[in-house]
């Protein structure tokens, strides 16, 4: 503890502890983009109404079981037998209906505002394809293909540049959920779903797959990097380039191109054109591998290539059964793909 902390009053430390308890990078109550903001406002209304109903009804229930309990010393005679009252039935039918009208109309408005929003001319288009257990991201207008780490430009409310994501799946159902940015949308094979995100604050936003998709469902994490427009442009320019050709990694490149790696992976500018696994062209520019679950260091990368199942059980990438030398070389090559 620092000197400062030692002198902090206990109640402030307690409050901090409580706040920390609720601190999370994936809270639905910290919206950082539209439509998360819109949903948040609706949720506050819904919570307020349901809380009021709860307090009223639970209050009456509590009162009833205390006030009308059989006390010791009471006679055992049964109380007045009451069979019902039509007026009361009408009352507690009409009042809930009125509450629901309010709730429904507010909800319908949010549905419309979100799902029927007009797409601005400078919206960015991203295609998202779900796989067991990684995310494929394509920027068709910009000619960029990447995986697992999604970059979006921050949007200026005065001249919005939201990102429209066209989503489907290559295999089973998945769901894209980044709570700080938007509600979730499912990725369903043979179906196209569209959702949009209008982020305002640059930063890293976390999420994960929210539809059970198989063994490694829990490890299909999402990382969304909202960049300032300038940073985003830089990132795009970099991603558009063909793969780096570092002469120091030539041995690894040769090994890579002659192993089964190329059956599943693409590295633009080489003979690797596989589509089953993530695009590796700029693998070394990413913070993580294995869809956000492992830090992208050469050591981790080496272990991943050697035995993916040991780090992400259920992963569909097979053990490559490479010799130690081949592993070193290929790891060095992949680590050079900035």
């Amino acid at each position: 503890m620092t000197v400062m902390q030692m002198h902090e009053p206990w109640w402030r430390r307690a409050m901090q502890w409580v706040t920390d308890l609720f601190s999370t990078p994936t809270s639905i109550f910290s919206p950082q983009a539209t439509p998360a903001h819109t949903i948040f406002s609706l949720s506050m209304l819904v919570l307020a109404i349901t809380l009021a109903i709860f307090l009223a009804v639970a209050g009456m229930l509590l009162y009833a079981i205390i006030r009308f309990r059989h006390r010791a010393g009471d006679s055992n005679a049964d109380p007045t037998q009451v069979y019902g009252s039509n007026q009361i039935e009408v009352l507690w039918t009409v009042i809930p209906i009125l509450i629901l009208v309010v709730l429904f109309l507010s909800t319908a408005r949010v549905i419309s505002v979100t799902e029927q929003a007009r797409k601005p001319a400078n919206a960015l288009d991203v295609v998202v394809i779900g796989h067991q257990y990684w995310w494929e991201y394509r920027y068709p207008a910009l000619g960029v293909v990447t995986a697992n780490e999604l970059h979006l430009p921050a949007s200026d409310p005065k001249a919005p540049t939201p990102t429209y994501m066209t989503m489907s799946s290559a295999d089973v159902d998945h769901s894209f959920w980044v709570p700080n940015l938007a509600g979730k949308m499912d990725l369903i094979p043979n179906k196209i779903n569209v959702m949009w995100i209008d982020p305002h604050k640059p930063g890293l936003y976390l999420g994960q797959c929210a539809q059970y998709c198989g063994t490694a469902h829990a490890k299909m994490l999402i990382r969304v990097y909202v960049d300032s427009p300038a940073d985003f442009a830089k990132w795009i320019a970099h991603q558009k380039m063909a793969a780096e050709n570092d002469p120091a990694a030539a041995e690894g490149k040769l090994a890579f191109e002659h192993t089964a790696c190329v059956n599943c992976h693409t590295v633009t500018g080489t003979s690797a054109k596989g589509k089953f696994g993530p695009d590796l062209t700029h693998l070394a520019s990413r913070d993580t591998i294995a869809s956000g679950t492992i830090k992208n260091t050469p050591q981790n990368l080496r272990q991943w290539i050697d035995d993916p199942d040991s780090m992400k059980p259920g992963s569909l990438m097979p053990k490559m059964n490479l010799s130690s030398l081949e592993l070193d070389a290929i790891t060095a090559y992949l680590a050079s793909l900035h």
């Binding site: 990078p25 049964d78 799902e115 089973v172």
Partner: protein, 558 residues
């Protein structure tokens, strides 16, 4: 023979039996009371097993990145837990009580089709055994064998042969299919019995609410189980004959499975909850010492719930891309169903109001039910708002919501029903002391686990994940939830001990230990196999009240 006032009771004759004779009797019985108890006993065994599966999950989730079980085992745990609890605990136990009580409450001697009744039980039971046999295949029990791992709602195309090779999904299909046949058979029996075998004077308007709710439940079974059976036939045809119902490569639709499943799945949860309401309708009045408030409104609300529940299914699919019209419609329908449901809660409140409430064990479970069902209904209203569901759907918030309904409402009323009708079924009272321990321990555990479970949902934790990252802030909440599980486990063990011990050593109950008003309390405990010495004749909704209060019978006021 005992006599009390105008009523006479027959005790069943007792004679010594070989245990083999006793087993044979139970295996070949067509008596609705025996079949009811078979269903209940069977369901209790599966409750313990599915509870163990939940315990395994809670241990695995107690800390982030845990290695208690592999993801493969965990995925089998949640699939088996859900499938078992819905089809081999919920349905059997509720049909078990229905089987036992409906003929007695309407003054009949048995169900309309006793042999169909027995067949329905045994085919459901076989389904359960088949489901659990799946653990033994493949890698064997430790590696959780070939038990299904596709989730209890088995979304396509994860269930296609391509993504689920081997036989695990086939076990799921067959077991649930057989359970469905049993459910339809029992529902058919219940409807026919109620419509065709009520005793003299018992018009539909004089029937106790329990049979009314079972009537609506059974009608819903006919309409809801069909879609599930059909969908499973289709999945089976896909997997075994190479058909393409849900084969996306051939143009099939994954969303079609979801529609068919939830057209079953949503009414199913009302099929599970209406019997719980039925128990509340019988127990709360007796321990408030007043009749149920608003009998007609309760019947009307139940029928409304039955109808509306057939039209809300896609609120399980708000994130699937139904489009704004679909999302708006299903939001509206789901919100509407809260009106008759609310009416029920208010009528129970009004029944308590002005009463002289006695807090016997059945009643304390019922009171907890009222509070917990209220909360469950309110979180349901939250989820009905589609945009809110876009955040909360498929998260632990939903898991918390439906466990509030399934455990907090349904299981609590099942416990209440146990304490209330066990004396009738066995002739002995369950221990009130153990009952109070059971209640308080379970309630502490229930709230530790499921109140706090809402929080990780609001903090972004999806469901069906075998572990989670440490940096998400979910760890403390998961730990609390896992601790709650320990209390619940202890409480269930106390309950089982109570049942086992009281069966032989409990205080003798007599025919009417609770001073109640419906026909089952007019005969001995346990009833003779012919139920009533003479067929009853009734003139009001509470025939025993009329007999006990000849100066102010209900028939004067109805």
């Amino acid at each position: 023979m005992q006599t009390a006032g105008a009523m006479t009771f027959d005790s069943p004759p007792s004679h010594p039996k070989l245990w083999l004779d006793a087993v044979n009797e139970w295996f070949t019985t067509v008596d609705h009371k025996r079949i009811g108890m078979l269903y209940i006993g069977y369901a209790l065994v599966f409750l313990l097993i599915a509870g163990l599966e939940a315990a395994v999950m809670r241990i695995q989730l107690a800390v982030p990145n845990n290695h208690f079980v592999s993801p493969q085992v965990f995925n089998r745990m949640f699939t088996m837990h859900g499938t078992t609890m819905v089809f081999f605990v919920g349905m059997p136990i509720l049909f078990g009580f229905g089987n036992y009580l409906v003929p007695l409450m309407i003054g009949a001697r048995d169900m309309a089709f006793p042999r169909l009744n027995a067949f329905s039980f045994w085919i459901s039971a076989f389904g359960g055994l088949l489901l659990y046999f799946s653990f033994i295949g493949g890698y064997g029990l430790y590696g959780a064998g070939t038990a299904p791992d596709v989730g209890w709602f088995a979304y396509a195309p994860l269930t296609a042969k391509l993504f689920s090779p081997g036989h695990s999904t086939d076990y799921w299909i067959l077991a649930v299919f057989l359970s469905g046949i049993g459910s339809v058979g029992t529902a058919l029996n219940i409807v026919t019995t109620i419509v065709c075998m009520r005793c003299k004077g018992m018009t539909m308007a004089r029937m106790p609410l329990l049979p009314w709710l079972y009537l609506v439940t059974s009608a819903m079974v006919f309409i809801a189980i069909g879609p599930l059976t059909a969908a499973q036939m289709m999945l089976g045809i896909d997997r075994f004959l190479g058909a393409h119902f849900f084969d996306v490569q051939a143009g099939g639709s994954a969303v079609l499975w979801m529609h068919f499943f939830w057209i079953f799945g949503h009414p199913e949860v009302y099929i599970l909850v209406l019997p719980a309401f039925a128990f509340a309708n019988e127990i709360i009045p007796v321990f408030s010492r007043k009749p149920i408030f608003g009998y007609s409104a309760m019947v009307g609300a139940t029928v409304l719930i039955g109808f509306i529940s057939l039209g809300v299914w896609a609120h399980h699919m708000f994130t699937v891309g139904l489009g704004p019209a679909g999302n708006t419609f299903f939001t509206l329908a789901t919100m509407i169903i809260s009106v008759p449901t609310g009416i029920k809660i208010f009528n129970w409140l009004a029944t308590l109001w002005g009463g002289k409430i006695r807090f016997a064990t059945p009643m304390i479970f019922s009171i907890a039910f009222l509070f917990q069902f209220l909360i469950a209904g309110l979180t349901g209203i939250m989820l009905s708002a589609a945009p809110f569901d876009w955040q909360l759907g498929n998260s632990y918030f939903v898991v918390a919501h439906f466990h509030f309904v399934l455990v907090g409402a349904i299981l609590y009323m099942i416990f209440a029903a146990f304490y209330y009708w066990f004396p009738k079924m066995s002739g002995r009272m369950l221990s009130e002391t153990l009952g109070k321990w059971h209640f308080w321990l379970f309630t502490i555990g229930f709230h530790l686990t499921f109140d706090f479970m809402h929080v990780p949902g609001l903090m972004g934790m999806p469901r069906r994940i075998y572990t989670y990252e440490a940096d998400r802030g979910w760890a403390v909440w998961n730990m609390i939830e896992s601790i709650g599980m320990i209390f619940q486990a202890a409480a269930i063990l106390i309950f089982v001990w109570n049942v086992v011990r009281s069966y032989r050593h409990g205080e003798e109950a007599g025919p009417d230990p609770w001073d109640a008003w419906t026909l089952e309390w007019s005969t001995a405990s346990p009833p003779p196999h012919y139920n009533f010495a003479e067929e009853p004749v009734v003139h009001s909704r509470r025939p025993l009240w009329d007999l006990k209060h000849p100066q102010a019978p209900d028939s004067d006021y109805e």
